[in-house]
């Protein structure tokens, strides 16, 4: 079944309610998987709603064939947030039902940073920051020079924007006017140990991107309607689009939100119970 969901007429209150419910369920799923073994919960929770909306309502994909040639491509440049990607892939059937339980276990397909070798739906192996975005730009160039209509969507973190390679790629994307590449910054305003502004500030982010010749769209990265509109509206100008999605690290669980400890951690039994209760 190929999906052509990239149309605002197919996106309304019903879809938003469905996404809200699924988002909560996937957060619960991720917490249970991460308990006892750990995982990048904070960043996965900030990026989840973006990735979920992409796979559920935006990406032109064939749910029967993850390698369908004309599919839109998705690159998770902040590869440490694989839990969010895996949870969504499991939800739409690109992983086996229940497979996420095997996350990081011996013999599993699901490494701590997403690997593409055995999972057809994952486009590339990422994990080191500032790599996926450059590859995504190369893929967009490939589509452009071969006259293909598919698009590339790429999620990068705001902390990832510390990497010089990100800015090299932005220069390149604007130079080649790659309007078939949509870059989404998961702007949770935190890095591993502290707020981004206290480590290596990248603000004012939207102004920086505008000065790099991008059409900048700033949204609430947990508002499904805003995500949908920002990622599906054609560029207004002769420029590529970049979306600054303002998000909350650890979104959905009060004691995890904006707390460095939850960048990477295994919830204890009591933490898990309390977190799941908040997501009911």
């Amino acid at each position: 079944m190929k999906t052509d969901r990239n149309s605002s007429s197919l996106f309304g209150e019903e879809q938003i309610q469905s996404l809200e419910l699924t988002s909560k369920n996937l957060r619960r799923r991720i917490l249970k998987v991460a308990s006892g073994k750990g995982g990048h919960i904070g960043g996965s929770f900030s990026a989840l709603d973006i990735i979920l909306t992409l796979y559920k309502n935006i990406l032109n994909i064939d749910l029967e064939n993850p390698k369908w040639e004309e599919r839109d491509r998705f690159i998770l440049s902040k590869g440490h947030c694989s839990l969010a990607l895996y949870a969504v892939l499991e939800e739409i059937g690109f992983l086996e039902p229940g497979e996420l339980d095997n996350y990081t276990l011996k013999g599993s397909r699901l490494a701590g940073h997403a690997e593409h070798f055995e999972i057809p739906a994952i486009e590339m192996t990422t994990g080191s920051l500032g790599h996926g975005i450059s590859c995504a730009a190369g893929m967009a160039l490939a589509a452009k020079i071969s006259g293909k209509n598919w698009k590339v969507f790429c999620v990068v973190g705001d902390g990832e924007c510390n990497e010089g390679s990100v800015w090299e790629t932005l220069l390149f994307t604007a130079q080649q006017n790659l309007k078939n590449l949509v870059i989404i910054v998961d702007n949770n305003k935190m890095e591993s140990l502290d707020l981004t502004k206290n480590i290596l500030s990248i603000e004012p982010l939207a102004e920086k991107f505008a000065s790099f010749n991008f059409e900048v769209r700033e949204i609430d990265g947990h508002n499904f309607e805003e995500i949908f509109v920002a990622l599906t509206t054609q560029p207004k100008y002769e420029k590529p689009v970049i979306v600054v999605a303002n998000t909350v690290k650890g979104k959905g669980v009060s004691f995890m939100e904006n707390t460095p400890m939850w960048h990477y951690r295994a919830p204890s039994d009591s933490e898990l119970i309390n977190a799941l209760a908040e997501l009911n």
Binding site: H116, E123, M124, T125, T126, G127, S128, G130, H131, I133, S134, C135, A136, A137, G138, M139, A140, L141, A142, A143, I145, S146, G164, S165, E168, T169, L171, F172, Q175, Q176
Partner: protein, 316 residues
Amino acid sequence: MLWQNLIEMRNAFVAKLTEIARENEKIVLLVGDIGFGVFENFKKEFPKRYFNLGIAEQNSIGVVSGLAKEGFFPIFYTIIPFLLYRPFEQIRNDLCINRRDALLVGVGAGLSYGALGPTHHALEDIGVMSTLPEMRIYTPSSPVMVGKSLDEAINGGSGPAYLRLGKNGESNLSFDNISLAKWEPIRIRNPYRKIFILSHGAISKFVEDAINEINLPDLITFGVIEQIKPFPLDEFSEQVKKSVLIITIEEHYGVGGMFDKVLNVVNRFNLGAKVESISVPHRFITEVGSQENLLEDLFMNTINLEQRIRKAIENG
């Protein structure tokens, strides 16, 4: 004189690449703002398959990876240190871990950029690339072998590859036209002698001249390695059976270079031969001078090589 004798490695590269690109429309040439006048004709003939990516090597390797992922065969060309050292992790992750069919072409092997100083020298590149699984390394010895290596790098294997080019008017070896029928990762003249002299890259011409001067064809086997990774183990082991002394000569550090590889193989397979290295000493070459000047200072020009080979044979 054959046309091949008139050109240097860079020109041989572009000529052969143009020929291949006419047949293979998946070839895309990317350059890091290097090669004044070298690619003008390629750009004219294939305007949609030529990109100057600017001075941004990390992004460039990512773009190579993305193009390769979507079915193109990208070839990225720039000066060796910028090609390999700046974006090392991109090469490791985005090309090797992700197993992309792509080619990195480095210009300025060894001391080719002599007077431009140590930032531009490439004396550790084989060592650096040798650490990476999946990576193939081609070290052509002459312009005509650049063409053969390019063909082999594109059509003869899979995964990423690195092609190491000189820059300064390299010429061909006397036996280049003898052994062109099929790809040979190591080429041998006078097989199965007691002394085995092995070289790679453009200095092979100096080595050949020195061996000709010494003129002991019954004693000396001359081998030239055109593809150093994977190391041509079977061919090498076969040749070295009767050797008592192996002399490796390279415009590269012995550390991480052919010397290390030969030592490793001789030791691992208990081949029994003594191994001597003539290579660039393991320090940064900060003296100012052309490639010719520096090789002379380092006792690596044809006359020096002749003397050093004679001495090694006497001692060996």
